[in-house]
C-alpha cells in the first residue's frame, strides 16, 4: 500500500479579482519527503501555486489537502497552526532588516507561544539554544548578534532558512530562493535545502527559473504554463528537451 501524500491538489482553480486566471484545474499529489521543483516562465503561476499551500493566497475552487485534511476552512488559530508546519523562503529573504539575526531566527518560533509572551520576548532557554543550533546548520552561528541588513544576500537567505527551521516544519516552500543570488551562494542555499530534505525528511517545494538547477536538485519536476500543469515527471524521466519545451512553447505563443 502506498503512503498517503502529504499534499494533494484536486481541481484547484484560482481566478484573481481582476479576472486574471492564476491557476487552472491543478491536480497532483506530493509524497512526504519529496524534493519537488516547479518550473515555468514568470507569471505562469508558480508563486501562486506555492502560496495556496500555506493559504497566503486563497483559491477560487477545488480542494487542497495537507496530511489528508482539507485546509480551505481553517481560520484563526487553526490556520496559524497549519502555517507553523509549513516553512516559507522568499526571493527577497524577507528578514526584518533592522533587527538582529537572533531576533529574526527566534521570530520563526513565535507560533509556539501565546501572543503576550512573544511581545515580552519570553523565549525559553531551550528555544534560544535551538536558534543557535539552527544557525549552526546554515553555518552562521557567529552572526547571532549581527544586524540582518549587515549580512550579504546569501547569508540573509540562510538566516531565513534558520528562521524556517525554528518552526520545525514538515514542508518547506521556497519561492525563487536563489533568483537574486550569485552562483556560489546559490549552491550554498540549494545545498542547505537538499540537506534538510535528506536529513530531516522535510518535503521541499522550490520554484526555480534555472533548468540546470532544477535537474541537479529535484526528485521530480513539474511545469506550469499560464496557470496550467503541463509537465510532471520524476527526475529519472526528465529530458533536457522536455524542459526547453516548457519555456519555448510559451515563448513562441507569446
Amino acid at each position: 500500500m502506498e503512503e498517503a501524500p502529504i499534499i494533494s491538489f484536486k481541481h484547484v482553480n484560482k481566478i484573481y479579482s481582476n479576472g486574471t486566471v492564476g491557476l487552472k484545474d491543478i491536480n497532483f499529489e506530493i509524497p512526504q519527503g519529496q524534493f519537488l521543483v516547479v518550473v515555468g516562465l514568470s507569471g505562469a503561476g508558480k508563486s501562486t501555486l506555492l502560496r495556496t499551500i500555506n493559504r497566503m493566497h486563497e483559491i477560487t475552487s477545488g480542494e487542497i489537502k495537507i496530511d489528508g485534511e482539507p485546509i480551505q476552512t481553517y481560520k484563526g488559530q487553526a490556520l496559524r497552526l497549519l502555517r507553523r508546519k509549513i516553512g516559507m523562503i522568499f526571493q527577497g529573504f524577507n528578514l526584518v532588516n533592522r533587527s538582529s539575526v537572533e531576533r529574526n531566527v527566534l521570530s520563526g518560533r513565535v507560533s509556539y507561544y501565546p501572543t503576550w509572551k512573544t511581545l515580552c520576548g519570553l523565549f525559553t532557554q531551550a528555544d534560544r539554544e535551538m536558534a543557535v543550533r539552527s544557525l549552526q546548520r546554515v553555518n552562521l552561528a557567529d552572526k547571532l548578534y549581527t544586524r540582518a541588513d549587515e549580512l550579504s544576500g546569501g547569508q540573509q537567505q540562510r538566516v531565513a532558512i534558520a528562521r524556517t527551521l525554528m518552526q520545525e516544519p514538515k514542508i518547506i516552500l521556497a519561492d525563487e530562493p536563489v533568483a537574486s543570488l550569485d552562483p556560489l551562494t546559490t549552491k550554498a542555499v540549494m545545498d542547505t535545502l537538499q540537506r534538510l530534505n535528506r536529513e530531516d525528511n522535510i518535503t521541499v517545494i522550490v520554484n526555480l527559473h534555472s533548468v540546470p538547477l532544477a535537474r541537479q536538485y529535484a526528485d521530480r519536476i513539474i511545469g506550469l504554463q499560464a496557470g496550467q500543469l503541463v509537465y510532471d515527471r520524476p527526475i529519472s524521466e526528465v529530458t533536457e528537451a522536455d524542459l526547453n519545451d516548457i519555456y519555448v512553447t510559451e515563448a513562441v505563443q507569446a
Binding site: 496559524r80 507553523r84 516553512g87 526584518v96 532588516n97 533587527s99 521570530s107 513565535v110 512573544t118 511581545l119
Partner: protein, 264 residues
C-alpha cells in the same frame, strides 16, 4: 538609413498639455484667491517701518529677566514632554488602525481616520480655552491640550510612515503562523521606530512653541510671561523669552539629530 521605429505620442503628451494646464490653473487660483481675500502686499512693505521699530526695541534684551523665566520655561518643557508623550503613546494604536497596508477593513480604517481628522480639526487654542474652563488656570489644562493636539498630528505622521514600510517581513511572519499583534511587534515596529522617535521629537519641538501661545489662555508655562511682557510693551523682556525658547528648540533639535544618527 531608416530611423528605428519608436512608439508615437499624441500631441497632448508631446507638448505636456496636462502639466502646463494644471500649473496655469493653480496660478489663476492663487491670484484669484488673493484678490478675493483682499490681501494687500503693498501694506506689508509700507508698514515695514513699524516692524523694524519693534525689532529695535527688542534688540536690548533685559538679561536680568532670565532668572525670572527659568522656572516657567522648565514648566513649559515639562508640559510639552508630558503632553507629547501621552499624545504619541495614544497615537500608536490609532496609527496602526489607520494604515491601509495593515488594516484591510475599509470601514474600520475610514472610521478611525474620520475620528483623527476630527481631532486635528479642533484648533489648539480652542482646546486650551475649553480645558482651562474645565481644569481651571494652570498647567493641567496645558498638558491635556498638548496631548490631544499631538495625538492628532502624530497619528497622521505615524500612519503615513507605516504605509511606507517593506511588506516582505510581514509576509514572512504571516507564513510562520504569527498572530496579527505579533506580526506588528516583530515586523512593523522595528521598521518604524526611528521615524517614530524623530516625529516624536519634532512634535515636542512644536509643542514647546505652541505652549508659549497656550499660556495666553492661562494654560501655564512661559506663555503667561510672554503675554505679560507684551501687554506691558516691555519688549526687552519679550526678547529674552523668545531667545530662551529658541535655545530650548535648538537643544531639542540637536537631540533629535543625534538620536536619528544613532538609531538609523
Amino acid at each position: 538609413m531608416s530611423i528605428p521605429e519608436v512608439p508615437r505620442r499624441s500631441w497632448i503628451q508631446r507638448w505636456h498639455v496636462k502639466g502646463i494646464a494644471v500649473t496655469g490653473l493653480l496660478l489663476v487660483l492663487l491670484v484669484a484667491s488673493s484678490r478675493m481675500t483682499g490681501v494687500d502686499v503693498g501694506m506689508f512693505f509700507s508698514n515695514f517701518g513699524q516692524f523694524l521699530n519693534l525689532l529695535v526695541r527688542m534688540s536690548h534684551p533685559a538679561w536680568e529677566y532670565t532668572n525670572v523665566i527659568v522656572q516657567p520655561l522648565l514648566e513649559t518643557i515639562q508640559m510639552a514632554i508630558l503632553g507629547t508623550t501621552i499624545g504619541a503613546a495614544l497615537a500608536v494604536p490609532f496609527a496602526i488602525l489607520s494604515a491601509s497596508n495593515l488594516i484591510h477593513n475599509r470601514f474600520l480604517r475610514g472610521l478611525t481616520r474620520l475620528f483623527l481628522d476630527l481631532v486635528r480639526t479642533l484648533p489648539d487654542l480652542l482646546l486650551a480655552a475649553i480645558f482651562v474652563a474645565v481644569f481651571g488656570i494652570g498647567s493641567t489644562a496645558g498638558v491635556v491640550t498638548l496631548a490631544i493636539f499631538s495625538f492628532g498630528m502624530v497619528s497622521k505622521l505615524f500612519y503615513e510612515v507605516i504605509e511606507t514600510i517593506d511588506m516582505g517581513s510581514l509576509e514572512a511572519l504571516t507564513s510562520v503562523g504569527a498572530s496579527k499583534v505579533t506580526i506588528i511587534w516583530y515586523a512593523v515596529l522595528p521598521q518604524i521606530l526611528n521615524q517614530f522617535v524623530s516625529y516624536f521629537l519634532y512634535t515636542l519641538e512644536i509643542n514647546v512653541r505652541a505652549s508659549t501661545v497656550l499660556g495666553y489662555l492661562g494654560a501655564g508655562g512661559i506663555g503667561v510671561f510672554l503675554q505679560r511682557s507684551l501687554n506691558e510693551f516691555n519688549y526687552s523682556q519679550t526678547a529674552v523669552i523668545i531667545l530662551a525658547t529658541l535655545a530650548v528648540v535648538l537643544v531639542i533639535d540637536g537631540i533629535s539629530n543625534h538620536l536619528r544618527r544613532v538609531l538609523l
